[in-house]
Symmetry: C2
Subunit: 337 residues, 2 copies
């Protein structure tokens, strides 16, 4: 069942059917009605490949994610998918390993699938203009910060929170509660990711407060997941663990750390406070609920798509949005007595 068949059956030309299909004005109501009826009766659906071919572009938008299983990303992905589908586009998703170059991958995808646009979720933040030149379609970086200043604002779009600032606030919160010996639980393998940014917020808060920033206070894990955090924290505690509070760069890692603390006989928050940033749902249900700065994930996904669709449809320029985080007071932070 092709457009030709529809044309034949409804007694009009292919062109007219195409016009109806694309909601163009210059078709009489009579023709339009008839064509629509025939389409309905034969439940005809236009062939996307043919469409894409002649328009030399597809209806696909690519989503490149680092590690889909991070529950924080999950909510963003959901919002992104909703927006893309609602906008009449198709979402094609690919995830990449932490040591892959998402820009290369994105460029590959873009050309192979004739993408209309791209959303890069959770990537590096040291792109250069040369890197970006790989991409020939609009793109939006979500959960991303141009920390190193390698790019000007004109060169890309982004939706994110103020990562460094939020981390800074989190550590300030601990400091305001009297803590001085505050450990940072971070990932160390990928020094170009958002983790690094949050770590810098920690460093800033500590230095500003004039607190010593000795090595054992920085706890590293290579794997950005619960288990890695758990193991790293266990090791740190075995080594003495001389701190009264922990700042974790993600909820997930905080949860891993809390188990380690518990097993080590340290109660949270009595013996050790914990704070993080992300605000995934589950962290509000553990015991004690995690005190954390929540990112507006749904909004982040939604805005990313909005910006991208504007860039695609209205040819609007690059835009940046830094969304606010909100502190969710669980019970994992307590004043140091």
């Amino acid at each position: 069942m092709t457009i030709k068949d529809i044309a034949r059956i409804s007694g009009v030309s292919i062109t007219t059917v195409s016009r109806v299909l694309n909601n163009r004005p210059d078709v009489s109501d009579e023709s339009r009605r008839k064509v629509l009826e025939v389409i309905e009766n034969n439940n005809y659906i236009p062939n996307n490949s043919a469409r894409d071919l002649v328009k030399t572009k597809s209806d696909a938008i690519g989503l490149v994610v680092r590690g889909v299983s991070n529950p924080f990303y999950t909510d963003i992905i959901r919002a992104v998918e909703s927006g893309i589908t609602a906008g009449g586009y198709t979402m094609v998703m690919q995830q990449i390993g932490s040591n892959e170059d998402e820009l290369k991958r994105a460029a590959m995808m873009e050309r192979e699938k004739r993408l209309r646009g791209l959303i890069l979720l959770g990537g590096r933040f040291d792109y250069t203009p040369t890197d970006l030149a790989l991409l020939n379609v609009p793109f939006v970086c979500c959960s991303f910060s141009n920390h190193y200043g390698t790019l000007t604002e004109k060169e890309y779009s982004s939706v994110s929170i103020a990562d460094k600032e939020t981390a800074y606030q989190a550590v300030r919160h601990l400091i305001a509660n009297g803590h001085r010996r505050i450990a940072a639980l971070i990932t160390c393998t990928d020094d170009r990711s958002i983790s690094q940014l949050r770590y810098e917020g920690y460093v800033q808060a500590m230095e500003e407060a004039g607190f010593p920033l000795e090595d054992p206070l920085v706890i590293c894990t290579d794997t950005y997941n619960i288990q890695g955090a758990y193991q790293a924290m266990t090791r740190a505690l075995d080594d003495g663990g001389n701190f009264t509070a922990v700042f974790a760069i993600s909820d997930n890692m905080a949860i891993g750390a809390m188990r380690a603390l518990r097993e080590n006989g340290r109660a949270v928050p009595e013996d050790c406070s914990v704070i993080a940033v992300d605000g995934i749902e589950v962290s509000d249900y553990i015991d004690p609920p995690l005190t954390t700065f929540c990112q507006p994930m749904e909004e982040m996904g939604r805005h990313s798509v909005e910006i991208l669709l504007d860039m695609i449809g209205k040819h609007s320029g690059n835009r940046h949005e830094t969304l606010p985080t909100v502190l969710r007071q669980g019970g994992s932070v307590r004043p140091l007595v």
Copy 2:
């Protein structure tokens, strides 16, 4: 840069370039070398739309998911994406609301995007042959059970765990620990989903043991998430909550329930045991770690893709896999004294 340009530059016909592109045998080494060189130099990438058009099929595989944010699905999705991409296909994902008909949506996608195949994740289990006739491409149902027997095994492929049996085992585990008054925490809105199946396992275990199955023991929530479970459990406890153990149909719901229990002054497992099925990572890190039957999520995703690709590539018939679950003993179950 099209195939025509490549042909012109390398001094052969379009046909020959196409042959090289598709690794066909009847090209001389000489021609092949030259063409490949030209392709390389101009970093030409074939236009997928044109390819799809003439082949009347695309390289896209659809993934239809009910509620992407369920952390249990997340791991499956990750494995599915890996498999699809590794197989040289493209994953296009759509999520649907709990009251949408995934088969309709899948059929729509299939025709619009000329899909090669479909993976249905977490759907209903009362499809009829008529329903399935909507789909003209191979498909695999993941996390699915043909519980009502409306289909014969020949009519579809599936990868899942033995949901009813696993739920049954979970409740048996509670019974073996001396519990009689066992509450079931279930979702009630979608009576055709996997939840229903697990609920039936609960019923079977209770009836078999000859335990009364009074109404207040079955705790319902409409929303399949942590918060819904939390609220439902809070309500149940406010109403008396006369039970010594809870069987939750998912880890997520168990986590919500545990907070409700805690806030109600009931310690887990001292005052109330909790068991579930899913085995998401985080539930092993809460306090107490949840005792739960783990699904092999990565494997489920992987197998789904394997079966699908076999069906697409080798035209192999429908296949079914029921993967084993394994009990992860946390600390949320204790013998009733």
